[in-house]
Every structure is written in structure tokens, then in C-alpha cells.
């Protein structure tokens, strides 16, 4: 009897603790969201002046901000696609074949992951300056793909761990060539790993600050625009945009988690 009570106490204590940690995590988010409804009109926009949707309206007029967000989206999309393609075929190749230098490539993959982002940023900056690669969207794409590829590879590799090699042999045995086998068998089976990697790549790209800071030239991405406005005082339309982004991502998570997509997939055989 006492043990059960103690257990329940432990359990509630645990729940309270987790709750507190979540509160810590979400605190600034709450601040951001709430402040987006702040009716304040003057810098530094900190004190609460009443509830208002005004800034959401002002957001639509802030072309510079919206442009920067558009840049971020395009950049993230392109980077994700490129890094996913390169990363996936690399992961498959490294899994299947033995060749000299595999361990070298393996080690190199960890570099963008482990070294501080600032080092990668300045290194790429020096490269672009020397080789005269125009600094703008192009250099940003190069930079983002570079730090995304390892994460894609790690994700796909994890999925490859339990992969049955004879699946591809079975396909070839049934008369299907290597390329077609890759598209019809390998990719679909690996899809969850590829999807996870792509999602991770997208997330990293959208939120990247430091590497973009050094490699962007004049192109403004959303995080960089935010950084700019922090110097002068962040207007709540930035908060508004962030809130909207948050809502979209939460919706996305809810959709995938609730299995809606899973159910749609099962409809076709």
C-alpha cells in the first residue's frame, strides 16, 4: 500500500518536473506569440499596449520581411532536394559496396556536423571569395547542402541497418534491371529514412543563422532579417510571421501523427 502511494508520488513528481521543463522550453514561444498581438506602435515594442491583430495586417505590407521568408523557403526547398538526392544515393552506395576510401568519406561526413557552425561558415566564405562564386542564393545553396547532406546520410543509414539485401537480388532475379530495381524496390523501402532525413535537412536549413550569416552576400533570409531587426527593435510583425509559421508546422505534425497520411497511403495497393 505504501509502495503504491510512493510510486504514485514519484509519478506525479515526474509529471510536474516534465511540465516545468516544457514550460521552460515554451516560455519564449509564448512571449513571441503573445507579443504578436501587442497593440504597441513605437519602438522598442516591448511594453504591452493592448490586444490587436494590427501587426498581422502590417505583416502583409512588409515586403522586405515577406521576401526574406520567401528566400528562406526557396533555399530550404532547393537545399533539401539536393542534399536528399546526393545523400540518399551515397548512403545506399556506402551500404552496399566495399571500396577503398569508404572510411575516409565516413569520417569527412562528421566534420560539418561536429565542428562549430561558425568555422564552417567562414571556411565557405573564404572559398567563395577565392573562387569568386557570387555570394547570394547560389552560395547559400552550396552552404546549406553542405551541412544537410551528413544528416540525410545518417538518417538513411539508420534505415538501411535492417535492410534485407536479398530484396534487390529478388527484384533482379525476376527480370528487373538495376536502375528500375533502385526506383521500385530500394527507394520505397527506404522511404521512411529518406523522409526523415529530408525533414531534418529542411528544418536545419530554415533555421540556419550562422552559416548563412557568412555566405549570404546581400540575400536576406528570414533569420538574417530578424537578426537585422533585433538591432533596431523587433517589430511585432516579425512575431506575427513566426506565429503563423508555428501554426503551420504544428498542423503539419498533427496531420502526420494522426495517421491521416498513413490512411491515405493504404487506399492504393
Amino acid at each position: 500500500m505504501r509502495r503504491k502511494k510512493a510510486e504514485r508520488l514519484c509519478r506525479s513528481a515526474g509529471a510536474v518536473y516534465c511540465g516545468l521543463v516544457y514550460a521552460f522550453l515554451f516560455l519564449p514561444i509564448v512571449v513571441v506569440v503573445v507579443n504578436s498581438f501587442n497593440a504597441t506602435k513605437s519602438k522598442p515594442y516591448l511594453s504591452w499596449k493592448g490586444f490587436s491583430f494590427a501587426w498581422y495586417g502590417k505583416l502583409l505590407q512588409n515586403t522586405a520581411l515577406l521576401d526574406s521568408f520567401k528566400n528562406t523557403l526557396i533555399l530550404a526547398a532547393v537545399s533539401t532536394i539536393l542534399s536528399t538526392i546526393i545523400g540518399t544515393i551515397a548512403a545506399v552506395g556506402m551500404f552496399k559496396y566495399r571500396f577503398r576510401g569508404k572510411s575516409v568519406i565516413d569520417a569527412l561526413l562528421y566534420i560539418p556536423v561536429v565542428i562549430p557552425e561558425i568555422v564552417l561558415g567562414i571556411a565557405l566564405l573564404t572559398l567563395f571569395a577565392t573562387v569568386n562564386i557570387p555570394r547570394g542564393m547560389l552560395s547559400l545553396v552550396f552552404a546549406h547542402v553542405t551541412f544537410c547532406i551528413p544528416f540525410v546520410i545518417f538518417n538513411v543509414r539508420a534505415r538501411l541497418d535492417g535492410y534485407d539485401k536479398s530484396l534487390e537480388e529478388a527484384s533482379m532475379d525476376l527480370g528487373v534491371g538495376r536502375l528500375k530495381t533502385f526506383f521500385h524496390i530500394t527507394l520505397p523501402v527506404l522511404a521512411p529514412g529518406i523522409g526523415g532525413g529530408a525533414l531534418l535537412a529542411f528544418t536545419l536549413s530554415i533555421d540556419d543563422v550562422i552559416v548563412s550569416y557568412f555566405t549570404n552576400g546581400q540575400t536576406k533570409t528570414f533569420p538574417l532579417k530578424v537578426m537585422e531587426s533585433i538591432k533596431s527593435g523587433v517589430a511585432p510583425d516579425v512575431n506575427a510571421l513566426s506565429t503563423l509559421i508555428l501554426i503551420v508546422t504544428v498542423l503539419f505534425v498533427v496531420l502526420t501523427q494522426s495517421g491521416l497520411i498513413r490512411r491515405l497511403r493504404h487506399r492504393k495497393i
Partner: protein, 408 residues
């Protein structure tokens, strides 16, 4: 170096390949598993060797597989049987030697270019496709019209008794069901040859026995040539038209089950297939076709031709052919003491121990038990013993001892 098969016709079953007529048989010693009877075998494996680095995995392997036959390659783990199968399928290339399927040289031919299909040990069902899609896969890739695909797949499902399972996913199937889907998927392409790599090893005993019969039935019905690989000798004996016994990368013997069992040509085949009692010794005298052999525990004899006095031999006698008596039998001087008897349902298994510790196994249909702990004289009908030319040097020790004792 392949051991020669006995020089008799290799066919004792009723299944004759469509090509040859028995009257054309040219009996004689076949130096390999090649059959000199029929014209061209469907699958011809000629002197293939496979090296993995310095590891000689398959040595000078030669085998002909006749059209329509169920041939099993039997051997223990690591003997190279799976490697051989994979070379026929095209997943590995022989280091040298040639493989012909339907008369075509398979060198440099990819697996998808061969008219050969495989059933994998792990089933290898595509996890993201339904049963229907798995089976239809090969046909769909060949762009066969949908209607025809549907008909053929449904027919195939009925054939393997999985009607109604078309929309299940592999993860929802049991082992036996997965196996049948794998077979259906391979067979629907109407290959010339079906290769099966220990397909039943993951199933439990009862299911395995059931599947063995089903496979046999399927093979007969579809009339496809099966090359089956297994380490289970009982399985091989049950299902095969012919068995090719493989050991350490080499082909030891090829023949029909009865022949493999009753007339093993090597010690390995004798001990691997079924249970046997193996004596090693030296030929002490040859009287017509009765060969007397001096072994450590005494003298034994068997009926055989082609043996000379002084030759080192191994003698194999199956437990069910072993006889005992309480008085000596002419021609035999081995005597043992019955130590164990086990009643196993339909048979009575006994073990008699010879003075040198050699355990002799006897098997009789349940009846009178042997006198426990009492001395028995062991013997057999000479024609039930199988004499094997032995190349073992370690036998000399036993032989010397026997000869010296005989001399006393």
C-alpha cells in the same frame, strides 16, 4: 577431384527426361555428375571454381541437371552449395568454369537476363507491396496487360492455396504463407529453372514436412526443373529425383536417393545421409565377390568388386541391416556388448559397444529387445555392406593393430 559415380544408369525413377530413350543408354563410369544418356541437359555446370580471396569455396564442380527433374544439392553448412546456386542465378560469377542454361553460356549474363528464378531463404518479399503486387511484380515490369496479369496472379494464388490473400501485406503473413508467396512470385514468370535456397529452413517441423510435399506436388504439376539446396538430408531424400552431395566445395556423389543411401561412394556420403556404422580396415582376403576386411575389432566381410588384398577400405553398414546373434557367424568376428536400448515408437534402437569403444548402432522394427549388457555377435548379409575405397592415412594405425592381432 570428383569421386566417380557408380557406373550404372542414373535413372531409376519413372520420370524420364523428354530427350533421351533408355535404349540409348551407354552405361559406364561417369567421371562427373554428367549424364551421358540424354542429349543436352537443361543446366550444365562445367568445372566451376569459386575463390573468395584465397578461400577455395567451390572446387571443380561439374553437374548436369535434366529438364523437369527435382535435383537437390545436399551438404552441410559452408560446403559451397549456396554459392553454387547463386552462380547459376547470376549473383556471383565463377572464378573459372562455365554454366549453361538451355544451351546458352551464362558468362557475363546478369540475373535479370537469365531465364532462371530464385526462391530465397529469407523469402525476400517486398515489404511495401501487397501479396498481389509481389507476385505480379515480374509481370508488371515486363508490361504484360493488366487483365492477363490479374488472371495469372489469381491462378497462381489458387495453386499455392493462398486464394483470398491478395491484398494482405507481407508483415501480416505467417512463415509458411510468406514462403508460398515467394514461390508463386518466382514461378509465375514461367522460368526454365527454379532455384530454391533452403526455403524451408525457417519453418517448424510440421509445417516443413507439409511444405515438402506441396513443393513436390507443385514441381510435378508445373513441370519446372527445380534445383533445391538444403543441409537436411531427410528433406533431400523425401523430395528429390536426384541428389548431388557436396562436401568442402566438391561434388562427392550424384544419384537417385536410393542409390545415395544404399551405395555411398565416400565416407562423407555414407555418414551424412542417414545413420550408418562405419568400419575402417584393410582387405585381408578376396574370395570371388566376398571381400574380407580386417578391422580393429576383428574381421568383417561384404560383397563388392574391384578391391584388392591389402587395400585400405571403409565399410558402411546401415543400422537396420545390422544383425546380432548369441553365437558366432561365419565370416565375422566382431563382438560387442549391448549398452543402450531406446524404444522410439515404431523402432527399437540399440547400441552395442565393441572392445575398442566403437559404438555400433542397430535398428529393428519394435520387437524383442537385445540382451542387455550381454555379449552379442554382430554380422550382416554381405550384400548389405558397402565397401568404400578409402584414402585415409589415419586408418593405418587401426589397421596395423588389427593385422598384428590377427597375426597372433
Amino acid at each position: 577431384m570428383a569421386v566417380s559415380a557408380t557406373g550404372r544408369s542414373l535413372y531409376e525413377t519413372s520420370r524420364m527426361p523428354s530427350v533421351s530413350a533408355p535404349g540409348n543408354a551407354a552405361p559406364g563410369r561417369c567421371k562427373s555428375g554428367g549424364d551421358m544418356l540424354s542429349g543436352r541437359a537443361l543446366v550444365q555446370i562445367q568445372k566451376i571454381n569459386k575463390f573468395y580471396g584465397s578461400n577455395h569455396v567451390v572446387r571443380d564442380f561439374t553437374l548436369d541437371v535434366q529438364e523437369g527433374e527435382f535435383l537437390t544439392i545436399l551438404g552441410s553448412s559452408g560446403c559451397g552449395k549456396t554459392t553454387t546456386l547463386r552462380m547459376v542465378a547470376g549473383f556471383e560469377q565463377p572464378t573459372d568454369g562455365k554454366i549453361f542454361v538451355g544451351g546458352e553460356d551464362m558468362a557475363d549474363k546478369e540475373p535479370y537476363e537469365r531465364d532462371v528464378n530464385t526462391v530465397f531463404q529469407s523469402y525476400a518479399l517486398f515489404p511495401h507491396m501487397s501479396v498481389f503486387s509481389n507476385i505480379a511484380y515480374g509481370l508488371r515490369m515486363k508490361h504484360i496487360p493488366k487483365k492477363e496479369i490479374r488472371k495469372r496472379v489469381m491462378d497462381m494464388l489458387d495453386l499455392v492455396q493462398l486464394g483470398g490473400f491478395e491484398y494482405r501485406m507481407p508483415s501480416q503473413l505467417s512463415g509458411g504463407q510468406k514462403q508460398r508467396v515467394a514461390i508463386a512470385r518466382a514461378v509465375i514468370n514461367r522460368p526454365k529453372v527454379l532455384l530454391l535456397d533452403e526455403p524451408l529452413s525457417a519453418l517448424d517441423l510440421k509445417l516443413r514436412k507439409q511444405m515438402q510435399l506441396e513443393l513436390k506436388r507443385l514441381q510435378r504439376k508445373l513441370n519446372i526443373t527445380f534445383i533445391y539446396v538444403t543441409h537436411d538430408q531427410e528433406e533431400a531424400l523425401t523430395m528429390s529425383d536426384r541428389i548431388a552431395v557436396m562436401h568442402d566445395g566438391m561434388l562427392e556423389q550424384v544419384g537417385v536417393p536410393k542409390e545415395i543411401y544404399e551405395k555411398p561412394v565416400s565416407k562423407f556420403v555414407a555418414t551424412f545421409i542417414g545413420e550408418t556404422n562405419l568400419f575402417e580396415g584393410m582387405v585381408s582376403s578376396v574370395d570371388g565377390d566376398i571381400v574380407s576386411v580386417a578391422v580393429e575389432s576383428g574381421t568383417i566381410c561384404g560383397r563388392a568388386e574391384g578391391f584388392q588384398k591389402g587395400e585400405v577400405v571403409a565399410v558402411s553398414v546401415r543400422p537396420e541391416r545390422m544383425r546380432y546373434s548369441t553365437s558366432p557367424v561365419r565370416g565375422f568376428t566382431i563382438q560387442g556388448v549391448v549398452r543402450e536400448q531406446v524404444y522410439v515408437g515404431s523402432v527399437l534402437k540399440s547400441i552395442a559397444v565393441l572392445p575398442n569403444g566403437h559404438e555400433i548402432r542397430l535398428e529393428r522394427l519394435a520387437g524383442d529387445a537385445l540382451p542387455m549388457n550381454g555379449p552379442v555377435y554382430l554380422s550382416w548379409d554381405p550384400k548389405d555392406a558397402r565397401l568404400i575405397h578409402s584414402r585415409d592415412q589415419e586408418v593405418y594405425h587401426a589397421v596395423e593393430t588389427a593385422v598384428m592381432e590377427q597375426g597372433e
